[in-house]
C-alpha cells in the first residue's frame, strides 16, 4: 500500500516557539525532565541534540529559549495543519503532532501523479504558516516517515532497497516510548549490525526468538513489511463509545474530564474482550450540526493514558482553534471508535484491567501456555463457531494464541443442515454400520427413501440392536463443483434399545445409498 507521510520538522519546537511569541528560526528547545526532546534547526546548528542534558545544551547555546514539553500545545498546533491537508486529501491520520500519514493511491490518481499530490500537500501545509514541511512516499508507514525525513519519493516496490543502506538508528522514532530503543540499537551495533539491510537479512525466526516483540517489529520495519499486519483486524462495530453533552462542551478543562471518562470506558471495553487499539477515530458533532473526524494511529497499542491523552489533545485542538477551521459552536456529541485493534494476547498483562473476568482469562491463558509447553502449540485448541451444513464443518479449532477471525459464514443460512440437538460425539473414520430389515436383508436408500423399514442395527463392536424409531432420510448435497467430494450422501437418525440402565441409544448414521456408517452419537 502506497503511503504519503507529511512531516513538519521539529514540530513541537516550532509550535512552542509560535505559542511563546518567538521566531521559529531562533534557537528554541523543548525539554522533558531536563533533557532535550526537540529543538529548532538554528539550535541544532549550535550543537544542541535530542537526548542532550539541558545544562549541556545551554552551555553550547547560551541564548537558547527553553520550553517544557506539552502534548496539548502540540496537538492544538497540528489541528490546523491536519485540516489544511484534509482540504487537499481525505482520510488523514495523525501519527504524532508533526507527522501525518495518508494513503497515496487516491490523491495520486486525482492529481495526476504522486509528485503532483505531494506538491499540493506542501502548498496546503505552508499556507497555514508552517514554514518547513517535507513529504515522503513509500510502501510502509515507517519507510514513508523516513522518506519524508529525506524528502524522497520511493518508487513502488523498491522500499526494501531504499531502507537497506540506512543506519539502524532510524528505527528509533520519537513517537514511541523512548527508553527501550537505545538499548536495543546498542546491542545490534555491538553485534556488528550497522544498517537496516544487514538487520533485514537475518532470518525472522531467529530475530523473534532472540529479541522478542521489539526485535520483530524492528525487523518488519527494516524489511519494509507492514508492522502487525498478520494479527490486525477491523473491530466489531459495537466497540465504539459515545457521549452526549448538554450543555455543549466549550471549555478545554471540561473537555479534559470528558476525554478521561470516555477514554477509560473504551479502554475497559476493549480490555474486556482481550483487545487493544492501534488506530482511534475521534468524531465530534457540534451544536450547529457540523461534524469533524480525526484518526490517530499509533505504532504501539494505546494504553489507558495514551488513549485519554489523544482524546484530550484532539478536543483541545478543536476547541482552541480560531479562524477558518474553527468549530463555531460547542461539541454536543463525542464518539470514539477503535478502527483497528490487535488481539491482546501478545501484550503485557498490565494492559488488561483488574476485573475478575480478565483475571480468569489470564490464569487460564497461563495454564494453556504451560500445556502448549508440554504438547506443542497445536496441543491446546479453542473452538470457533462458524458456518457449515455438518457439525464437523460448523466449528473450527484454532490453536490457543493464534488469531481468531470470526467466521463470516456463521451468519449465512445453511439449507439442509440438521436441526438441533446435534450429536454430542462425532465419530471419525466412518466405521461401518449395518442396517437390516425384518427379514434380515440390508436396508438401502432408493430414490431418497429407505427401501424397507429398519428392524435391527449393527454398530461396530456391539451386538445387533433392535431399532425403536427412525426418521426420514436427510439428503446432504455438498460441493457439487468438486469431483473429489462425494456429492450426495444421506443422514439418518435412529434410536435403538440397549441392555444397560442408560435407556435408549440415539445415533446418527451417514450413508451413500449402498452402505451405512456411524456419524455421531447422542450420548
Amino acid at each position: 500500500m502506497r503511503l504519503i507521510a507529511v512531516w513538519c520538522p521539529d514540530f513541537p519546537a516550532v509550535a512552542a516557539a509560535h505559542a511563546g511569541g518567538h521566531d521559529a528560526r531562533s534557537p528554541v528547545a523543548v525539554t522533558d525532565s531536563n533533557k532535550i526532546v526537540v529543538c529548532t534547526a538554528s539550535a541544532r546548528a549550535h550543537g544542541v541534540r535530542r537526548g542532550q542534558r539541558l545544562r549541556e545544551a545551554q552551555t553550547l547555546c547560551p541564548d537558547l529559549v527553553v520550553v517544557s514539553a506539552d502534548g496539548e500545545r502540540d496537538a492544538a498546533a497540528i489541528e490546523p495543519v491536519a485540516a489544511a491537508v484534509e482540504e487537499v486529501v481525505a482520510g488523514v491520520e495523525i501519527l504524532r503532532p508533526g507527522l501525518l500519514v495518508l494513503a497515496a493511491s487516491g490523491p495520486a490518481r486525482y492529481y495526476g501523479s504522486e509528485e503532483a499530490a505531494a506538491e499540493r500537500l506542501v502548498d496546503a501545509v505552508e499556507a497555514t504558516g508552517v514554514d518547513s514541511v517535507q513529504v515522503g512516499i513509500a510502501d510502509t508507514v515507517f519507510a514513508a516517515t523516513v522518506a519524508a525525513h529525506h524528502g524522497l519519493l520511493v518508487p513502488p516496490g523498491t522500499t526494501p532497497e531504499f531502507l537497506a543502506p540506512l543506519g539502524i538508528r532510524v528505527l528509533d522514532q520519537p513517537s514511541e516510548p523512548r527508553a527501550r530503543w537505545p538499548e536495543f540499537l546498542d546491542l545490534l551495533s555491538r553485534l556488528g549490525i550497522r544498517t537496516l539491510g544487514e538487520f533485514a537479512a537475518l532470518p525472522v525466526s531467529d530475530v523473534s526468538t532472540r529479541f522478542g516483540p521489539q526485535g520483530t517489529v524492528a525487523h518488519q520495519r527494516a524489511r519494509g513489511a507492514d508492522e502487525h499486519a498478520p494479527h490486525r483486524r477491523t473491530p466489531p462495530a459495537d466497540l465504539s463509545v459515545h457521549e452526549e453533552f448538554d450543555p455543549a462542551l466549550e471549555r478545554v478543562d471540561v473537555a479534559a474530564f470528558a476525554a478521561k471518562r470516555l477514554g477509560e470506558q473504551l479502554h475497559g471495553e476493549l480490555a474486556g474482550r482481550g483487545l487493544v487499539c492501534t488506530r482511534l477515530a475521534i468524531r465530534a458533532t457540534t451544536e450547529l450540526g457540523a461534524q469533524r473526524e480525526r484518526i490517530w494511529r499509533c505504532a504501539e497499542p494505546l494504553t489507558v493514558a495514551g488513549m485519554v491523552d489523544r482524546v484530550r489533545w484532539q478536543l483541545d485542538g478543536w476547541l482552541r482553534v480560531s479562524g477558518p477551521g474553527a468549530l463555531g459552536s460547542g461539541i454536543t456529541v463525542l464518539h470514539l471508535e477503535p478502527t483497528e485493534v490487535l488481539a491482546g494476547t501478545a501484550l503485557q498483562l498490565d494492559l488488561l484491567t483488574n476485573s475478575t473476568e480478565s483475571d480468569a482469562a489470564e490464569r487460564a491463558g497461563r495454564a494453556m501456555v504451560r500445556v502448549q509447553g508440554i504438547l506443542g502449540a497445536d496441543g491446546v485448541q479453542l473452538p470457533l463457531l462458524g458456518g457449515g451444513r455438518t457439525p464437523q464443518d460448523a466449528a473450527t479449532l484454532v490453536p490457543w494464541g493464534d488469531a481468531r477471525d470470526p467466521d463470516p459464514r456463521a451468519e449465512l443460512p445453511w439449507p439442509g443442515r440438521m436441526l438441533p440437538p446435534t450429536p454430542t460425539t462425532l465419530v471419525p473414520g466412518k466405521p461401518v454400520a449395518g442396517l437390516f430389515a425384518d427379514d434380515g436383508s440390508p436396508v438401502r436408500v432408493v430414490r431418497s427413501a429407505l427401501n424397507a423399514p429398519p428392524a435391527t442395527v449393527q454398530l461396530t463392536g456391539f451386538p445387533r440392536r433392535r431399532v425403536l424409531a427412525w426418521g426420514p432420510v436427510w439428503p446432504l448435497w455438498q460441493q457439487f463443483w468438486s469431483p473429489e467430494v462425494e456429492q450426495v450422501s444421506f443422514r439418518l437418525q435412529l434410536t435403538c434399545d440397549t441392555t444397560g440402565e442408560d435407556g435408549e441409544l440415539a445415533v446418527l448414521l451417514g450413508g451413500d445409498g449402498q452402505r451405512w456408517w456411524l456419524d455421531g452419537i447422542y450420548q
Binding site: 475478575t356 473476568e357 480468569a360 482469562a361 490464569r363 487460564a364 491463558g365 497461563r366 495454564a367 494453556m368 504451560r370 500445556v371 508440554i374 504438547l375 496441543g379 491446546v380 485448541q381 479453542l382 473452538p383 470457533l384 463457531l385 462458524g386 458456518g387 457439525p391 460448523a394 466449528a395 479449532l397 490457543w400 456463521a410 443442515r417 440438521m418 436441526l419 438441533p420 440437538p421 446435534t422 450429536p423 454430542t424 460425539t425 462425532l426 465419530v427 471419525p428 429407505l450 423399514p453 424409531a469 427412525w470 426418521g471 426420514p472 437418525q493 435412529l494 434410536t495 440402565e501 442408560d502 435407556g503 435408549e504 440415539a506 455421531g520 447422542y522 450420548q523
Partner: protein, 226 residues
C-alpha cells in the same frame, strides 16, 4: 440455605453450611440432585454422559469461567454450544497422550473446571496428586466416561432410563430425551438422589444460547411432530 429446592420425595434439602462463594453456578435441572448449592469448588465428580457434561459446563462458562476438556477428540463443539456452553472459554486438549497427568496438573492451576476422559487410566499416585491439587486450587475435576467407576470421587452423576422424543417410524426427528439424573457419592452425597430432566431439551438445552446451529425451540417442534 434459604432457597427452596424442587420437591422430590425422600430428599432432604442441601447442606445448610455456608458455602457461598465456594461453589460454581449450576443449571436448575441438576441442582436437585447435588448435595451442595452449586458445584463445590475442589470437588471430584464422575459424569457418565456428554449431554450431562455440557449441562454442567454451560452455567460455569456463561458466568465467565473457563472449562478445559481433555482427551476427548470426538467432542462436538456445536452440541456444546447448543447446550449453552460458551465455547470460546472451553479449550480442548484432544490428545494428551502419555502426558495426561502433567497436562491435567497444569490445567488445574488455571481453569475452573477440568473435564477429563480416561483419568482412571492414570497411576494411583498421579490421581491422588491431581485431586489434591484440584482441592487446593478450588478447581472442579470431572472424569467423563460411561464405563469409568471412580471410587474416590465426591459425586457420581449418571443418566438412566433415557427415552427419546420426536422420532417415529420413518418420520420426525430427535427432539429431546426424557431421562433420570442419578447422583450418589461420599459424605454429603452418600444418600442417593435422582430427578427427571430433559437432556438435551428441545433445541439443545438453553434456548437463547444456541449460537448459530440451533434455530430455537419454536422452530423445532413444528416439522418434528408433523
Amino acid at each position: 440455605m434459604s432457597e427452596p429446592l424442587p420437591v422430590l420425595a425422600g430428599v432432604r434439602p442441601a447442606s445448610s453450611e455456608d458455602v457461598a462463594g465456594s461453589v460454581l453456578p449450576v443449571a436448575p435441572v441438576i441442582r436437585p440432585v447435588l448435595p451442595w448449592p452449586g458445584l463445590r469448588r475442589g470437588a471430584t465428580i464422575t459424569v457418565s454422559s456428554m449431554a450431562l457434561l455440557f449441562t454442567l459446563l454451560a452455567p460455569v462458562t456463561a458466568a465467565g469461567g473457563w472449562a478445559a476438556v481433555v482427551g476427548m477428540p470426538t467432542v462436538s463443539v456445536v452440541a456444546a454450544a447448543e447446550a449453552g456452553v460458551v465455547v470460546e472459554r472451553m479449550p480442548l486438549v484432544p490428545r494428551p497422550g502419555d502426558a495426561l497427568g502433567a497436562v491435567v496438573d497444569a490445567l488445574v492451576d488455571g481453569m475452573d473446571v477440568v473435564a477429563v476422559a480416561g483419568l482412571i487410566g492414570l497411576r494411583p499416585q498421579e490421581i491422588r496428586k491431581v485431586t489434591a491439587r484440584a482441592r487446593q486450587r478450588g478447581t472442579v475435576l470431572m472424569s467423563v466416561h460411561a464405563q469409568d467407576r471412580w471410587p474416590g470421587a465426591d459425586l457420581e452423576l449418571r443418566l438412566a432410563g433415557g427415552r427419546w422424543r420426536g422420532l417415529g417410524a420413518g418420520h420426525g426427528h430427535l427432539l429431546a430425551r426424557e431421562v433420570e439424573v442419578r447422583a450418589s457419592g461420599r459424605g454429603a452425597a452418600a444418600r442417593p438422589r435422582s430427578t427427571s430432566a430433559l437432556l438435551p431439551g428441545p433445541g439443545g438445552l438453553v434456548a437463547e444460547a444456541t449460537v448459530t446451529w440451533g434455530r430455537g425451540a419454536a422452530a423445532v417442534v413444528g416439522p418434528g411432530c408433523a
